[in-house]
Amino acid sequence: MEATTPTTVSKLNIEQIRRDFPLLSRDMNGKPIVFLDSAASSQKPNSVIEAISHYYRFQHANVHRGVYQLSQEATTAFEVARDKVRDFIHAPSSPEIIFVRGVTEGINLVASCFGRKFLKEGDEVLITAMEHHSNIVPWQLICEEKGAHLRVAPINEAGELILEEFEKMLSDKVRIVATTHVSNTLGTINPIREMVAMAHAKGIPVLVDGAQATPHMAIDVQALDVDFYTFSGHKVFGPTGIGVLFGKEKWLNAMPPYHGGGEMIKTVTFEKTTYAELPHKFEAGTPDIAGVIGLGAALDYIQEIGLDAITQYENTLLAYAIKRLKEVPGIRFIGAAKNKASVVSFLVDNIHPYDLGTILDKLGIAVRTGHHCTQPLMDHFCIPGTVRASFAFYNTVEDIDRLVDGVKKAVAMLG
């Protein structure tokens, strides 16, 4: 093994970390699984699984309602998790942390509530060309309803946002900017701080889709000065069905509620209802209590390893993957941004991603194939889709070696 391979430079104890994730020791198609699809959903450590199990065994009661001790305990556990989220993204206060089902719901909430209040005919919403469908369609829905227009800031051939074009598009008609932090297909890390400064110079708020950023790097919503930041629990090693929307208090207070129901009200009469304070105004109904507690455990787990150590390890893993994949004749990387998270999208000659993915599956290697819910981005590059390998801190050099061997074998069969 070469001196520069990630295991030798890493401060992380990968063997110990892998033991924390029970799924990683299973087989797929008769071979030890190589899981390279964490960008779609990451695996869960024992501490998350145990936190959920413990909650259902010993702590469960509805939150924010009961006077009895058990309900108080559940409420405390729930609100402690909210504080953990606040710390994780360095938000100013816990009431600015809204629990949602995931990024998709986070964006839909803002599109719907911000849009209802602030969008009118002829206004514009500005997104980028690398957005996931979940940061396109909610805006299309509200734009259609309000007679507003969706504008798309272009990217270059490397898959990076063209910042000058973006700045030019910040006209006085733009009411909000919605952008991804990290592209799920290309791995491109967007210059959020610069984008926010440009938008704020025109008085335009910015929503950031943090689904692909939060598993890989430390997030500070105050340093970034974003108005909204949303991420999904299941991509940060937590449970599915839970996510977070951070919003600056002034915006959350100015927006109407999303769903109506219990918990989100102050007083209800048949004539007029007044709404609860933040965050409850946006959390109608019984929340996903177990999900929130599981998410809290996941954030504890990540913090314990340390996001800076994670970023460093994954960067070496990414560099090693690109170096080794270059051995494959005819390989073409889609997305070559200078600033990139641990995602590698590629094609080999004219081989269809579905064919390559099918053979890799048979070899025990889980990758994502297809358009990754970014059809407009695929159209931009004139390709039907890509093969995407995405890494988390539990992946190893050996995983990448098996991927490269697998791709070579698949190419030999298909080429």
Partner: protein, 138 residues
Amino acid sequence: MSINEIQDEIIEEFALFGDWMERYEYIIDLGKSLPLIGEQYKDEEHLIKGCQSQVWLHAEKDNGRVKFTADSDAIITKGIIALLIRVLSNQSPDDVAKAELYFIDRIGLKEHLSPTRSNGLVSMVKQMKLYGLALQAN
């Protein structure tokens, strides 16, 4: 040969293969070798869109039998299409409509016909049977 006789024949052929690699090499060869559809039919009208791969399907009636031609942009999908056409083409519309396809499962390729796979094949089989029904009448 009837639909089931052809299915049994394919199952026997596949029994000769040692492992998944041999099966897939055969499917890939099928996918590479066959021009399965006329270029004029590779249009929107004949397209069955999957998330992963796309399929084009055309059917016509010839001497009381349904003739299918089809294609895909992915080779493995195309190889499976070749098998489906071998089973269902040149059969009576009634037989096509009533066909029970068990061979895919028996030759170890059932995951390709899983609805979650989204490669266009499930919709294609459905469409082939609908053609069978539609062509019974005329």
